[in-house]
């Protein structure tokens, strides 16, 4: 077509600019990670960075489903924390009777206790997610105020259910022996579990990214986040897609809950509600609906929390809220804004 020539140069330069703009958030993360080196010694920085990445990865795992749930159907689910708590408690219920295996000096026995615990936590959190979606969320599609109220209510009920089932006290939890303790690299000592959390987080991110970029379901999810109506007009049922994403997101929240509980070495009924503050900050910073944004936002939040906790413990509590305010002043739609109709 004759006109394609005239516009092709514009087309060629646009992605270049976009790519530069797209990289700004990554540069900011690197900058924020590197700046504190000036304020502490290197080994402290390394330890804090690993701690920050570990925390970030766990929050990412918990948050990734929620950001897609919002992106796809504009659903605000304040009850997401229920899946986190539920996952943690279910895994605990599996692991406690298997304590001897957890304490055994064998990777295989450790995994024989841990993997079923994770499987049960994810499966049941996913199932709870399905019920939650059908019973509480489906009746309030399209109404944000009702969504907030009813999902908050759902969260409270879920937490009370945990109290009924497992009692009101927090339950101490031990990590499998293989994941306890630390390892040394040079003259710096790192906690093993943090490294494992980082590896699992990277794996989850890689798998999610592959699904979103390489499979038809993934393309449909991304297309649906951008324009659900058009996805329907092409002949696909967006609600079916949404329920699938909701279940998967709940299962991931369950996984995140298990990881968080093992990290804290304790489970409490309201742990889900507690981490939800961070989860919301992360998905808002990242840009609602973007998994990549969620990942970058989680890394930022994890790092800032740990650096601030060391440098200025008094402001550590508000550091992430400050981070969110600053990011939103810079990019009101978050670091990776999703094109929304």
């Amino acid at each position: 077509m004759a006109t394609s020539e005239a516009t092709s140069s514009a087309v060629r330069t646009a992605p270049l600019l976009d790519r530069l703009k797209g990289q700004a958030p990554a540069l900011v993360v690197i900058l924020i990670a590197l700046l504190p080196i000036a304020l502490m010694d290197l080994s402290t920085w390394l330890v804090l960075t690993l701690a920050g990445l570990a925390m970030g990865m766990m929050i990412f795992i918990m948050a990734s489903g929620l950001t897609l749930v919002f992106g796809l159907m504009d659903v605000l689910n304040f009850g997401h924390g229920a899946f986190i708590s539920f996952g943690a408690f279910l895994a605990t219920a599996v692991m406690l009777p298997l304590t001897p295996w957890m304490e055994a000096d064998s990777v295989w026995l450790n995994l024989a206790a841990l993997l079923p615990a994770i499987a049960v936590a994810m499966a049941m959190a996913g199932a709870l997610g399905y019920v939650f979606e059908r019973v509480l969320i489906m009746p309030v599609y399209g109404n944000h105020l009702k969504q907030i109220l009813i999902t908050m209510g759902g969260l409270i009920i879920a937490e009370q259910l945990i109290v009924v089932l497992w009692g009101p006290d927090e339950i101490p939890l031990i990590r499998p022996l293989t994941f306890q303790g630390s390892f040394t690299l040079g003259d710096v000592t790192f906690e093993k579990y943090r490294l494992i959390a980082v590896i699992i987080g990277l794996l989850v991110f890689a798998v999610l990214s592959l699904i979103l970029s390489r499979t038809k379901i993934g393309l449909l999810i991304r297309a649906g986040v951008e324009n659900g109506e058009m996805v329907e007009a092409l002949g696909y049922r967006i609600r079916r897609l949404f329920i699938g994403v909701f279940i998967a997101g709940s299962a991931l929240a369950g996984l995140g809950g298990v990881m968080w509980a093992l990290y804290e070495e304790v489970v409490t009924a309201n742990m889900g509600m507690q981490v939800m503050v961070l989860v919301f900050i992360v998905i808002i910073i990242g840009g609602l609906g973007s998994v990549t944004g969620c990942f970058v936002g989680a890394v930022l939040v994890g790092l800032v929390a740990n650096y601030a906790g060391f440098l200025a413990p008094k402001v550590a509590l508000v550091s992430n809220i400050a981070l969110m305010v600053i990011v939103l002043m810079w990019r009101p739609q978050g670091l990776f804004p999703v094109a929304k109709r």
Binding site: M1, A2, T3, S4, T7, S8, A10, V11, A14, P15, D18, K216, L219, L220, R222, A223, E226, N227, E229, M230, V231, E232, A233, L234, G235, Y236, R237, I238, V338, A339, R341
Partner: protein
């Protein structure tokens, strides 16, 4: 036809045999929130033809297409497609019956590549190579920018992609909303060529258009809307010859369509 103006919501004259009517709107009413937007829309789209839906801004053309697609719920009246009542059907079901939709804003997925947009449009699975090459012949730009993010395309290219999505698999009917809106004249020319190709392939199309030249070039039949109703329906040849009628219906001045 002594007085072609008196054609309000009266049933259409049987110029086309009933069997060849692909889409039939009968007294369709649509509310958007509390607003009564479509107030009894009746017209028919014959199979294998281009039907032009004309009318000034705000007449209800887009709302009509969205009602057919199930994107607005019809509050009264019947929409019959290929003999089946699709009035209350869900949008994906309507699409799967064989209606493709090219919205006014094109609604391409800008985060996805051109290819990925097309992959999603091909519901059956793999894209058919012959058909894809035919589309590349119609719109060479799509081949050129196949792996580019669709958001980076120009307006005209986005329009081509939106149309390509609608034709990557054979569909019974295409609903196309103002494909020339905001496009440079050269691109409009290319667009007409592409549509003429579709016409030769006996594609059934319901096309909303503001540009009367464009409409008369392509249209076999025509329906004109005003204020949420169809105020004229008939053959395009008849309207094209009748300048007075054009003025009356479309407010075209004599020199505007020379």
């Amino acid at each position: 036809m002594s007085d072609p103006l008196v054609r309000n919501s009266a049933p259409m004259a049987s110029t086309v045999p009933a069997a060849d009517i692909l889409l039939d709107l009968d007294d369709v009413h649509t509310h958007i929130e509390q607003y009564h937007i479509l107030q009894g829309v009746s017209f028919q789209v014959p199979r294998g033809q281009f039907t032009m839906l004309l009318g000034r801004n705000g007449a209800g053309k887009t709302t009509t297409l969205r009602s057919v697609m199930g994107l607005w719920k019809v509050s009264q009246g019947r929409i019959t497609f290929d003999g089946a009542d699709i009035g209350g059907a869900a949008t994906p079901d309507i699409a799967c019956r064989g209606i493709a939709y090219v919205p006014e804003d094109m609604s391409i997925f800008s985060d996805l590549t051109v290819k990925e947009n097309m992959v999603l449009a091909a519901r059956q699975g793999e894209m058919d190579d012959t058909r894809l090459n035919w589309i590349f012949d119609l719109f060479p730009a799509l081949k050129k920018f196949w792996s580019l993010e669709a958001g980076a395309l120009s307006g005209g290219q986005k329009q081509m992609l939106a149309i390509a999505r609608a034709i990557i698999e054979p569909r019974e009917l295409l609903l196309i909303d103002e494909p020339t809106k905001g496009l440079a004249p050269a691109i409009v020319g290319a667009m007409i060529e592409a549509f003429q190709e579709l016409k030769q392939a006996q594609t059934s199309v319901l096309l909303v258009e503001q540009n009367f030249q464009f409409a008369r070039t392509l249209g076999d039949s025509v329906a004109v809307m005003d204020d949420g109703r169809v105020v004229h329906a008939g053959s395009m040849a008849e309207l094209a010859e009748n300048v007075e009628l054009q003025q009356q219906l479309l407010g075209l001045s004599l020199d505007a369509h020379q």
